[in-house]
Amino acid sequence: METPLIEFRNVTKRFNGKTVLDNINLSIYENQVTTIIGKSGTGKSVLLKHIIGLLKPDEGTILFQGKPVNKMKKAEWEDHRRKVAYLFQNNALLDSMTVLDNVAFPLRQTTNLSKAEIEKRSMKRIDDLELAEAVGKFPSELSGGMQKRVALARALVTDPRIVLFDEPTTGQDPIRKNMILSMIIHYRKKYGFTAVMISHDIPDVFFISDRVIILWEGGVGFEGPYEEALKQNVPMIDEFLRSLDGFQDQLTGLLSREAFKMHYSAMLGAAVTETKYSAALFGVRLNILYEALGAQAAVAVLKALGEYANRYFNSIGGFSARHSRDEILTIFPHKNLAEARKLVEGFSHELENGVVDHIKNIAWKNSDAATCFDIYIRAGVIEISPEDSIEEIIQKGRAEQEIISTHRCDLGGKVQ
């Protein structure tokens, strides 16, 4: 069995006699994204602060790679601590320093790199997070969203092995939220760090999470994959998760997964024998778009796809929801396969005519003019029966996916 990277064993923490963490046991594994959710005041930030040593448990032990932290020598603990970066909820930027100084600060203080090298690495992170225009500004001159990105740049500049994100997307608009989450997942893949995140941005955060830990009344209510969490039969936790999900996907304006499920159940309940149903699974390769065009353009493509699907298919009684980061499932009630294919064809023409200029504008602004990418949108159109579960429909849709729409780069360069 894999040894957890970080393990909490019977950890209890009290503040002024109030127990915040009560005999907590949990594990965080290497190279995974672990998301911690829970109601306000359940000790999520307290838990993160224990990992980096800002707080110490009153009882219990924290283990790093199987070794108790309290038995480590100071040098060993410092060595571990340097591998961990922390993104504070309120950013905690050094307010008397400019953006560049803030991002370069950990390198200046903890490494012996040359001045030029430090500036180069810092500027790379600043560019990655689209902060070039703010480089000489002070934190108080920036918006909340920009401050968050500066904090993220500072957290990532030392290439840490573990990054703790305390509500990284709070206060951001839906596009920025997705951009930040895209960046987290992108950097995690690129640098291979382990991410531990507190976030309530459902569904996006769960699309990128490998494990979810639900803190509930001082203890761990659930620990495991998100899909498993939804199957739990604890009414309070169930209600909490549904309340986070809401009715609408903020980024695309599509239905939330819960609302989609309700629509689907209602449709099946009203079904008449012999009625035909069909579905389409649309998708873009978000990771490839991110690499090619940057976070903003990649998220813009996804947003445009969702908005167009919503507008186009709602008018004919269809309903859609995102079921992974870059896949949208649309159900067409009372439509057979041929009718559904025709609808998708019309949709693909609308996409090519309406969205391409918008995407090009964003993409060209963010990428090198010499680099050119085509954007492919895929769809799998299938016929479904009332016995099919949503998961089964998605599987069938994936198997049938083919390119339905291509937005060609005018320069005719490299094709993705």
Partner: protein, 297 residues
């Protein structure tokens, strides 16, 4: 029976005999009423004493850690910045206070010495007062008010906005980065500013004693030169070194731990920390002045 009901029982010992109003049964040593009334007073004194001893211990450890970290790498730049802020930027206020202190001393001592026919000793009296006592003490109080309060407030705000925690998470020791340079800069700046104060004070005394009141200039400077020995100058510098360490340590300590105060949170805790920093610094300057003087004499 009714009387019995009115009697209280000790919590947790409900089965034992009830005790009389006003405290436990008479032991023969303490009168029951008086003992119960004064015990909270002793508890308060005891609690206060324990807190004070704890604080003294904490300050000693804090100072030790900060002092040791002065000699770590990458400190020169930050120490230089702090010397500029604590030292160079305090020089104007030190000039003003030194000048007027010397001028007042010149006036007061002139009219006192005239009564005894020893106006010639004006230079000695002014220079010795300034170099031995007034220079180090007044300089330290001025810097405590100007730079010490800023140290406490700045570090307090860093603490409350989690910037100190952020330093820790970046692998930077907050004591090394924030406190050590300030202590080093104070130890460097206090003696230099004290020397400056002494010089300007002697010039102030010259302005009133010689220029205004007509004492002989040659006599004034001869007396200044002949009465001041190295022992006086050394004593003054030792005091200013001690004051520098005390003021910077107290002010940084108050700011650094402002979040642990029980008389206020957030912005209020920063304000209270700043007030405490200046008040405690001033009191400790005078107390330590007496202690150091008694050792030097």
């Amino acid at each position: 029976m009714k009387e019995q009901d009115e009697k209280k029982r000790l919590p947790g010992n409900e089965n034992e005999a009830p005790y009389e109003k006003g405290g436990p049964a008479r032991t023969g040593v303490f009168p029951s009423r008086g003992w119960s009334n004064i015990s909270p007073f002793f508890a308060f004194i005891g609690g206060w004493a324990i807190r004070m001893i704890g604080n003294v211990g904490a300050i000693a450890v804090f100072f030790f850690l900060a002092f040791v970290n002065i000699f770590r790498s990458k400190q020169i730049r930050e120490i230089t910045n702090q010397v500029y802020y604590i030292g160079a930027k305090s020089s104007l206020i030190v000039i003003l206070v030194g000048l007027f202190t010397g001028m007042v001393l010149g006036l007061q001592l002139f009219y006192t010495l005239v009564k005894f026919g020893s106006v010639g000793a004006l230079g000695s009296a002014i220079s010795l007062s300034l170099v031995r006592e007034l220079g180090p003490v007044l300089t330290a109080i001025m810097i405590a008010a100007r730079a010490g309060s800023a140290m406490a407030a700045e570090i307090g705000i860093l603490r409350n906005s989690e910037q100190i925690d952020a330093l820790y998470t970046m692998g930077i020791d907050p004591v090394r980065y924030l406190v050590s340079p300030r202590i080093a800069a104070s130890i460097i700046s206090f003696p230099l500013l004290t020397a400056f104060f002494d010089l300007i004070g002697i010039i102030g005394g010259y302005l009133t004693g010689v220029v205004l009141l007509g004492t002989n200039a040659g006599t004034y400077f001869y007396r200044v030169q002949s009465s001041l020995g190295m022992v006086d100058i050394r004593g003054g510098f030792i005091k200013s070194l001690v004051f520098g360490a005390i003021v910077s340590c107290i002010c940084c300590f108050q700011g650094y731990f402002c979040h642990m105060r029980n008389d206020g949170f957030g912005a209020r805790s920063v304000g209270m920390a700043t007030v405490s920093a200046v008040v405690i610094s001033c009191v400790l300057i005078l107390v330590s002045d007496y202690v150091v003087t008694s050792f030097l004499m």
